[in-house]
Symmetry: C2
């Protein structure tokens, strides 16, 4: 991406990008494992996701410290500075996606003792898989400086939103049909909302990549999003 | 806070802090107005909160740009650099709290057409008020470099969490008693969760202030938090 010859700054930036990719890999795993722990009622896997979040948090701290060191030492300007600030923003988003995965895993142990809700676990797993692929593509777009791929991720967020809206309506119906489903549905709804938020965060990351590559934020507001705020009736 | 004589850097930092305080004031208003719009069923006020979020977002962009300019121009190190990075983090948190307020206001217009749930609006308003005062104190602690006040904010987040946990149980009970309350309770629950998240974000800001003032993050993990993940029965 840089045209000038390799410098101390370039090596520092590469080290930071390596840390971002490592963090991204851990977060991708957390997303998939959280959804799988729900579907398989695997309380041990859920526990592993919850404990694994510490490593993700530690990587963010390491990235923040290292980025601050690079800014202080190399005094980067313009594009170079933007690269470092992008690293900080991507790390912050990854940390939050990791947190949402942990929150999902927390609820697995409660739901393990309840009657499964018809199809909800599989629907959540499909949503989570969609978000994980979006994240993978965002990280690929970042490494390759591929604004087109990042834009594609941005568009795909609508599918996640649609999946979520459909699930929200389904949960309402289930609860109305049988009040014994209410507690489980409240938890499942939380999980679905968390996955939807992970999609939003991944989209924010894709927008950061577009900004880094093109120098401009995507100007068309992407067609948002969670429509459930407007659902009064099912 | 700085012992050296006023420099170009100091003036830049002061300008940034002024922007943070302006942004913080807008966000405080957004929190209170969102809760009030629900309680009074005031759809116009809710609309004003939703539109007002644009000004909050614009301030974050301005702060980010200005901070990048200061880093590039002044090449700050150690404490000075930490001050600028803190500005970036506080602005990011404020933007997210603004978003949550907007999300709450969005649901007001739906709930305006539904039967009020006994006491829920007032409980949400009390939670929102608590968070707004926490935010106000965090901004005061930031301006005055008062780590003790920031630590006090951090402790108060537990009260918000307790209010939220109590509401969660109440909503479950309401829904089970009468399925006609389910849709309204789902929305109200979302709003309560949003307020709880605003409390978490404010607590993160308080921790940033402690880090800025003392050079160390609070080491005792604060007693967390949303316990509803573990509620299987009501």
């Amino acid at each position: 991406m840089n045209e000038h010859i390799s410098s101390a700054y370039d090596r520092d930036l590469e080290a930071l990008i390596t840390l971002i990719m490592k963090m991204g890999g851990l977060v991708e795993d957390a997303i998939l494992n959280a959804a799988q722990s729900l579907e398989k009622r695997d309380v041990e896997l859920a526990e592993a996701v919850r404990n694994g979040d510490k490593a993700i948090d530690a990587l963010e701290v390491e990235i923040n410290d290292e980025a601050a060191r690079v800014i202080a030492l190399r005094a980067p300007v313009s594009k170079d500075l933007r690269s470092i600030l992008t690293v900080l923003r991507l790390a912050a988003s990854l940390e939050r996606i990791g947190d949402y995965s942990k929150n999902i895993a927390k609820r697995t142990s409660v739901l393990a003792d309840m009657q499964p809700i018809n199809g909800a676990d599989a629907a959540l797993r499909r949503m989570a898989k969609e978000v994980q692929v979006m994240l993978k593509d965002t990280l690929d777009a970042y490494i390759r400086g591929d604004a087109e791929l990042a834009e594609d991720v941005r568009q795909r967020d609508q599918e996640v939103d649609q999946m979520y809206n459909a699930l929200f309506r389904e949960f309402l119906t289930f609860m109305m049909e049988d009040p014994r489903h209410i507690t489980a549905c409240m938890h499942l709804h939380f999980m679905a909302k968390n996955v939807e938020r992970m999609g939003d965060l991944t989209t924010n990351m894709a927008e950061q990549v577009i900004y880094l590559v093109t120098g401009e934020m995507p100007d068309e507001a992407r067609p948002k999003s969670d429509k459930t705020a407007f659902i009064g009736e099912v």
